[in-house]
């Protein structure tokens, strides 16, 4: 199996501090990998470095066998897209759903736009009646569906998910997670998920990496998460916190689905 994404010795710097230190991991094509950790552990920063939003990094990021460079890269765009955390901030407020979804096609000069947009909207469970609505006329769940549709318009193989459900209501979280599972099966997608919710990981991923203070402390298959038998004390502690009084919403989601 080839690697969809390889990261070797990655350091990411914000200001004067390295917030990610010497992180290495690889995701095989078709795999679903999660990065978990507390707030500030650097998990989102790794995603931002991959897509070029955090520019000050050292090390190797290899996407689809090609080294990542810090400039506009159309080929990268067609291979890897990202779904952002907050669907209220990730859609342009003055552009209709149709504009948002057509934009990647226009940038890459892809034709048959109307048909593609309608097909994609149906695929992510959006009524085509919403096609000419503005974001403020949509609910949070509908917005996130638009964001997922936008990420899939270029038919990428690797999808980066930055806490895709944390800004949504519990019932809507379940719908979006189910949608992500279905899309992955239908389109042979590779996922890199960033989250602090272990139940979401258990539902969506095959393997996970635990981050602490910008360092990868453990990598484990998802079975170990289900059994609750992590090798390191920190991962076990995180697992305990997740089961305890912390974030139970994700657990309910998995129970329901």
């Amino acid at each position: 199996m080839s690697c969809a994404l390889e990261i070797e010795g990655l350091f990411v710097r914000y200001g004067r501090d390295d917030v990610v230190r010497d992180v290495s991991f690889a995701i095989e094509t078709g795999e679903s990998y999660a990065l978990v950790g507390e707030s500030g552990s650097g998990k989102s920063t790794i995603l931002r470095a991959i897509v070029g939003m955090a520019r000050d990094w050292r090390g190797v990021i290899r996407v689809d066998g090609r080294d990542r460079v810090n400039r506009i890269d159309r080929q990268f765009a067609r291979h890897c897209q990202m779904v952002f955390q907050d669907p209220y901030a990730s859609l342009h407020p003055r552009r209709t759903v149709n504009d948002t979804l057509t934009e990647p096609l226009k940038i890459h000069g892809i034709g048959a736009r109307d048909a593609r947009v309608i097909a994609m909207m149906e695929d992510v469970g959006l009524d085509p009646r919403f096609r000419f609505r503005f974001p403020h006329q949509l609910s949070g769940g509908q917005r996130q569906r638009v964001a997922i549709a936008r990420a899939l318009m270029l038919e990428p193989k690797l999808l980066l998910l930055d806490e895709p459900t944390s800004a949504l209501d519990v019932s809507v979280q379940a719908e979006i997670l189910n949608l992500l599972v279905r899309l992955r099966a239908e389109r042979d997608l590779t996922y890199l998920l960033v989250t602090h919710s272990l139940p979401v990981v258990g539902f969506l991923c095959d393997r996970l990496g635990v981050l602490r203070y910008g360092q990868l402390v453990e990598e484990a298959p998802v079975e170990r998460l289900r059994a609750g038998t992590f090798a390191t004390a920190y991962a076990q502690e995180l697992y305990g916190a997740s089961l305890g009084g912390g974030d139970r919403s994700g657990a309910t989601v998995v129970a329901e689905t």
């Binding site: 990268f76 067609r78 897209q81 990202m82 952002f84 955390q85 407020p93 934009e103 940038i107 503005f134």
Partner: protein
């Protein structure tokens, strides 16, 4: 339970039908919550803005005054009772009367006709200044805000230099250098007006520069030109339109000031500032010569201020909920 829901649905449909009868098919088309095309979506958006604008009486008064200015300027030759330049020395300095509603000036010219024709000059100045300075300011501000770093520092340093000089003084300097005349007055005012728009566009751009919807288009591989032109500029537009409208009053005053000093439109053009300047010599005995064009300036300036305030209330994202 099912029955109840059906009754509710029926009631809702009935309500909609009644509403449709009252609002008419067009309004229904405009307020459709599932627009069928891009045009309908934008028309609906414009309709919602127009409706909230219409609820503001001062804004409507402003729109009326500005509309009146435009109509008067367009149809000046048909509206004016006399020629704006035709002299009649027997009728010089006549007070307002049935024959000359606003009186005549020192060369016997009808002041009403001159004010009506002067509306053309005022409108020309205002429109040309807006057309020249707003795009320049928008572009410089958006580029500076989007790229940041040294591009931002250089562009903003230039902007600050222009911003630090008083408008009228700078316009005076430019007119003095370029020569007096309407064209040069327009250029001079435009040169002094753009820095404010650049500042606004930059500030606006910075608020969403790091936002995820810009990151998303960058991630799709869009060129910088495309991002600035299609994604950044439309968001700077409304605050710039508001500011330009509010600035119109200042532009009219600056133009009138240049005219008053004899550096703007040259005689015999009926420019309002120049008219006041000529009436200065008679201000104590023949007050109407200077006062009437003064009223015109005040009313039109106020109109633009009201319009700008009204536009700010409906367009400013900070004062609209979620649009």
């Amino acid at each position: 339970m099912v029955d109840l829901r059906n009754t509710e649905a029926d009631a809702a449909t009935e309500g909609d039908t009644r509403k449709a009868g009252r609002m008419g098919a067009l309004a229904l088309w405009l307020t459709d919550d599932a627009p069928a095309s891009r045009v309908q979506a934008q028309a609906g958006q414009a309709y919602a803005i127009a409706r909230s604008f219409a609820r503001n009486p001062l804004a409507m008064l402003g729109a009326f005054i500005v509309g009146l200015l435009i109509v008067v300027a367009l149809f000046a030759p048909w509206l004016a009772p006399y020629s704006p330049v035709g002299q009649n020395l027997e009728m010089r300095l006549m007070p307002p009367s049935a024959e000359h509603w606003l009186g005549t000036d020192e060369l016997g010219r009808d002041i009403l006709s001159r004010i009506i024709h002067g509306a053309r000059i005022t409108l020309l100045i205002v429109v040309m200044v807006a057309l020249i300075s707003a795009p320049i300011g928008l572009l410089i501000g958006a580029v500076a805000g989007y790229f940041g770093g040294w591009v931002d520092r250089i562009l903003m340093a230039i902007t600050d230099v222009f911003l630090s000089l008083p408008k009228l003084i700078m316009a005076l300097a430019f007119v003095a250098a370029l020569g007096a005349g309407l064209q040069n007055a327009i250029i001079a005012i435009a040169i002094t007006a753009w820095p404010a728009y650049a500042r606004i566009a930059r500030a606006e751009t910075l608020t969403f520069r790091k936002s995820e919807f810009i990151a998303a288009v960058e991630l799709q591989g869009a060129s910088n030109l495309r991002i600035i032109g299609i994604h950044v500029l439309p968001l700077c537009m409304s605050s710039t339109i508001i500011r330009v409208t509010l600035d119109m009053a200042g532009i009219i005053l600056t133009a009138a000031g240049l005219g008053f000093l004899g550096l703007g439109a040259q005689p015999p053009l009926p420019e309002w500032g120049a008219m006041i300047s000529r009436g200065r010599s008679f201000i104590l005995d023949q007050w109407w010569v200077a006062t009437m064009p003064g009223f015109a300036i005040i009313i039109v300036s106020l109109g633009f201020c009201f319009l700008g305030d009204g536009l700010r209330d409906v367009l400013d994202p900070r004062q609209r909920d979620g649009r």
